[in-house]
């Protein structure tokens, strides 16, 4: 255990008790700060540099083949601490050759940005890597309704994210070869 050393506090000298030298030092410090470079960012014109792993607005993404990745498993809805996510599950429409092996897709997917706390649990829990907290940080609106991002808006914000796994392609291939499980 480290030994505690109690430092004796020296009694203040006369000049210290008048505070004046200290005040002069303080004034010098503030005066020199006046001419230093300003740190202000002129916001609307200048934007801050967003780091790579920034947790911004949650968005839904599509895979490089422009397919919906979300399978509406609703894990994110369950894990969301402020209950900001609301998913209405639906079926994948018939006749989409690319997705016919997938059973479900979200009919409606809403994230209430007034409730969202940007914790990133939804991104962490998503088994399909369909939801991402991206670099968008400024979301604003004139009404509460406007602040609820629907599915269309979420995909618009999300865009396409490069995906190394091509999970569905693999699944389709496996299905065709007859060893799906």
């Amino acid at each position: 255990m480290a030994k505690t050393v109690v430092l004796e506090r020296k009694p203040l000298s006369l000049s210290e008790r008048t505070y004046l030298p200290q005040i002069a030092t303080g004034l010098k410090t503030t005066f020199s700060t006046m001419f230093k470079k300003k740190v202000t960012l002129q916001y609307p014109e200048e934007r801050p540099v967003i780091p790579q792993n920034y947790r911004g607005v949650p968005t839904l993404v599509k895979d490089p083949n422009n397919r919906e990745k979300c399978v509406s498993c609703q894990l994110c809805e369950f894990v969301c601490p402020p209950k900001a996510i609301r998913i209405t599950p639906g079926e994948v429409p018939e006749g989409e050759a690319d997705r016919e092996h997938v059973e479900k897709a979200p009919k409606e997917f809403e994230i209430n940005m007034l409730r969202c706390i940007y914790c990133g649990y939804c991104q962490e829990v998503c088994p399909e890597e369909a939801i991402f907290l991206q670099q968008e940080y400024s979301s604003s609106g004139y009404s509460r309704e406007e602040m609820i991002n629907n599915k269309e808006k979420l995909y618009e914000l999300g865009g396409v994210v490069p995906d190394q796994h091509y999970k569905w392609d693999k699944k389709k291939k496996a299905e065709q070869e007859g060893n799906s499980h």
Binding site: I23, G26, L27, T33, M34, K37, K38
Partner: protein, 375 residues
């Protein structure tokens, strides 16, 4: 004076009113721009840039000058004033209406009244006489300033009391105690100045501010002759104008807004302007008494000619000194933390007051000793 006698009464009154309005305009403009200076200097001292967006539409398009003025925030006081004017007027239900409306007026009037006896330059007549530029050359000018500025506390006390709520009340109580304590030290710190100025051999009339300025012409500034008096006066001035480190009545961190917590819109604006008018006048008084007024530098004759150009340059020089002091006020505010209330009281009564007394005694003895050969 012959000029005055030839005029009708209404003409004299009209001229006086015009001069007064000009003076009020000048002081209020300076107060408004002190607010801007406060915002700008505080920003610079904290590594920020401060207000730099407000601009009048047609000035914006002037190349070079337009963006420069915009960057300095020159038009910000205009926007601030308009904002105060157009804000919703909210009167809390629990206030004492009459005094609630009276308080901002009482706060502003003394601040503006003190400037009537403030000399800020001199005018040279054709015969070579020097006429000081001021609204009223009062023989007891400095006492007038002390008396009227001591009335300013009523605005704060009434605001605190009429708001009928705890924090403003505490602010009002604090300010009345503080003002009384520091007025004593302030008055006592000025006495050695008058002793010094009125010593025999110099033809000086009692307590006139003009004479104090004249005594510093081509001789030492009084701030170097009596540094301790200047220091005590300065500290008391900070306390009287409610500036940090003595802004007890409105210490934001422990009293929300102090005496003006319950005030909004233009009534708050009046308090705000009154505070800065106090600072402007206080700086001008310090300049007059300790920094040689409109005279150039210590021991140097005024380099400007004794014509109207000289008068203008003198006034400009006076303003420059005053603005420098206003900057000092702001500078100190953004450097020092606030005193605790009991520390303010003990500093006033147990440190400054005895110090001022000792200072007075010292100069009484010194002036008596210096005057020995004269008798």
């Amino acid at each position: 004076m012959e000029l005055w006698n030839s005029l009708e009464l209404w003409q004299i009154v009209a001229i006086k009113v015009m001069f007064s309005l000009m003076m009020i305009g000048a002081v209020m403009t300076m107060a408004g721009y002190s607010v801007l200076a406060e915002r700008k200097v505080s920003a610079w001292m904290q590594g920020r840039v401060g207000p730099n967006r407000t601009v009048l539409p047609f000035i914006e398009h002037i190349p070079l000058i337009g963006p420069f003025l915009k960057g300095l925030g020159i038009f910000q006081p205009l926007a601030d004033g308009l904002k105060f004017l157009f804000k919703e007027e909210i009167v809390p239900g629990h206030v004492n209406k009459v005094y609630y409306y009276l308080a901002p007026i009482i706060a502003l009037v003394p601040a503006l009244t003190t400037m009537t006896v403030l000399p800020f330059g001199e005018f040279f007549t054709d015969t070579g006489d020097r006429i000081p530029l001021m609204l009223a050359d009062l023989e007891v000018g400095i006492l007038f300033i002390l008396a009227v500025s001591s009335l300013g506390v009523y605005g704060i006390v009434l605001a605190g009391w009429s708001s009928n709520s705890k924090y403003p009340f505490l602010g009002g109580i604090r300010s009345s105690a503080q003002m009384i304590s520091y007025e004593l030290a302030m008055g006592l710190s000025l006495l050695p100045i008058f002793l010094w100025v009125s010593k025999p051999g110099i033809d000086v009339a009692a307590l006139s501010l003009v004479e104090i300025v004249h005594s510093q012409n081509q001789s030492m500034w009084l701030v170097f002759v009596q540094p301790l008096s200047a220091l005590i006066f300065m500290i008391a001035l900070f306390a009287e104008t409610n500036r940090l480190p003595f802004d007890m009545p409105e210490s934001e961190t422990d009293l929300v807004g102090g005496f003006h917590t319950e005030y909004g819109s233009f009534k708050f604006g009046i308090f705000f302007v009154a505070e800065y008018a106090h600072i402007v006048i206080g700086s001008a008084i310090f300049t007059t008494i300790f920094l040689g007024g409109w005279h150039f530098l210590p021991w140097m004759a005024d380099p400007w000619p004794s014509t109207w150009i000289g008068s203008i340059l003198g006034v400009v020089w006076f303003l420059a000194k005053t603005i420098g002091l206003i900057f000092f006020f702001i500078w100190v505010r953004w450097t020092l933390p606030r005193f605790r209330y009991d520390q303010v009281m003990s500093l006033g009564w147990t440190k400054l007051l005895p110090l001022a007394l000792v200072n007075l005694l010292f100069y009484v003895i010194l002036v008596t000793w210096l005057d020995q050969p004269a008798s």
